[in-house]
């Protein structure tokens, strides 16, 4: 039984098989991300009511919150994939991890900037040293570290393992960072920062938010597959099947 599953995993995770399957999956993800995104934007920009406290500025939420969620989600994906790659020596997992990092960094960056842009009208400052903000900034650095390590080691196999180990160590640290920052903030912080007091959200706001979040996930799925396919081509460039495939393109 176990053997069969293992065999199946290995077959599926063979780069060639992945390349074929993912080629078929990408259009589906891309199209549904597009449809959901357009629908979410429509709902968010035209249908959702104006917030009585924040006015129209709150509409940033439909970008900001999905981006922030994705930034955490993608890091988790990256760390889990790295662990799989490191423990079971599945190359495909390493490729997915490597492909995820830049996307995750982009989402983190987006969350930071949109949060900043939101912060200016809300708090009167682009940046405050709030716990959540600070940990998001640190998350960005964790991504940068992963990518820097990945790209500075020549040997691909070594690079994968080294940066994978870093991703795992980082994931152990994320909760520690999270709690320490939170705790630090509550100790230090008086009234300087208006905390996000979460408004009990209007259903018309919640729906576009969730739709956008889902669209972001699908978008990630599509992009990560495209990137992973690139990695497959690059790393398997000496295999016969890649050569045949490339000749045809």
């Amino acid at each position: 039984m176990f053997k069969r599953i293992w065999g199946w995993i290995q077959r599926f995770s063979s780069p060639k098989h992945f390349y074929d399957i993912s080629g078929k999956m990408i259009p589906w993800f891309a199209v549904s991300a597009l449809l959901l995104g357009v629908y979410g934007l429509y709902m968010g920009l035209f249908v959702a009511p104006t917030d009585y406290q924040q006015g129209e500025s709150y509409r940033i939420i439909f970008i900001h919150v999905p981006a922030a969620w994705m930034s955490l989600f993608i890091y988790m994906v990256m760390a889990i994939a790295s662990a799989i790659g490191l423990i079971w020596q599945i190359k495909l997992a390493d490729m997915v991890a490597a492909a995820s990092a830049p996307i995750g960094a982009w989402f983190t960056f987006l969350a930071l900037v949109t949060g900043s842009l939101w912060g200016k009208p809300m708090w009167g400052a682009y940046w405050v040293w709030d716990a959540r903000l600070t940990s998001e900034l640190i998350l960005l650095f964790l991504y940068f570290g992963y990518m820097a390590l990945q790209s500075s080691i020549e040997d691909q196999r070594t690079a994968d393992k080294a940066s994978g180990l870093l991703a795992i160590v980082g994931v152990v640290n994320i909760p520690i960072i999270h709690y320490s920052v939170e705790w630090w903030n509550t100790l230090h912080q008086g009234a300087t920062v208006a905390k996000f007091d979460k408004p009990s959200m209007h259903i018309d706001m919640l729906i576009p938010l969730l739709v956008m979040a889902f669209a972001a996930k699908l978008f990630y799925a599509a992009v990560v597959l495209v990137r992973a396919r690139n990695e497959v081509l690059m790393r398997e460039r000496n295999r016969q099947w890649v050569r045949e495939l490339v000749e045809k393109i």
């Binding site: 640190i138 650095f141 180990l165 320490s180 100790l187």
Partner: protein, 223 residues
């Protein structure tokens, strides 16, 4: 196994004592960086006192960070690291020995001199004790976690800044709790929570970090 630990520790210490001036370097760097702040920010006593815990902790952190490549860099470059990996002893033990030597040579001196700097920066006497204690618990974690980073970057030329990029985010919790403990102690409050946290992190890093470092070293050696 204990013998292997002891021998490697002794070698690293001997090597450091051979270059006697090297010994003092992280210490001097620490003192220099701390003393940049009164110059750059303000000589005002009150403000200095307020900044002191943070500044001292940041400087300690930076000087450990900068001395990290002592850990494996040379051994890597001259091939001794290969010999270590080919030792019949478990790699984890050897890693622990090297980290212990590193801490004795960099962390410990910082711990010992910190109260003096605290004095210079107007840290109250009772908080000065907490400063030492927090560094005593925190600096070994810096060495232990740093070892993972060094072993990952040792093969990368000019890895210095890359190392900081990788390591600094991981250091942040220690920094926050360490500096905060001193801060709170200056206000005369209890610091039990912070100290317990630092202790817990230390225990965790002693048990996990050498393993991760050993794995990282095997990855690095595979060139």
């Amino acid at each position: 196994m204990l013998k292997a630990f002891y021998h490697l520790l002794a070698r690293d210490l001997r090597l450091a004592f051979r270059l006697r001036h090297e010994l003092a370097n992280p210490l001097i760097f620490f003192v220099l960086v701390v003393s940049l702040f009164p110059l750059a920010v303000t000589p005002n006593a009150e403000l200095l006192q307020e900044m002191a815990p943070g500044v001292i902790w940041v400087s300690a952190l930076l000087s450990v960070l900068l001395s990290l490549d002592r850990l494996f860099k040379q051994d890597y470059e001259d091939g001794s690291l290969d010999q270590l990996m080919l030792s019949p002893n478990p790699l984890v033990i050897l890693v622990l020995a090297k980290v212990a030597a590193h801490w004795l040579l960099t962390g410990l001196p910082l711990v010992l001199i910190a109260p003096l700097l605290g004095l210079f920066m107007y840290v109250p006497a009772e908080a000065n004790g907490v400063l030492m204690l927090s560094l005593l618990l925190g600096t070994p974690v810096l060495s232990l976690v740093g070892a993972i980073g060094v072993s990952l970057t040792v093969a990368v030329n000019r890895g210095g800044v890359l190392l900081s990029l990788i390591i600094l985010p991981l250091y942040i919790p220690i920094l926050i709790f360490g500096a905060n403990a001193v801060d709170v102690a200056s206000d005369g409050l209890s610091v039990r929570g912070q100290i317990l946290f630092l202790g817990a992190v230390l225990a965790m890093s002693i048990s996990l970090a050498p393993l991760a470092t050993a794995v990282a070293l095997r990855i690095t050696a595979s060139r």
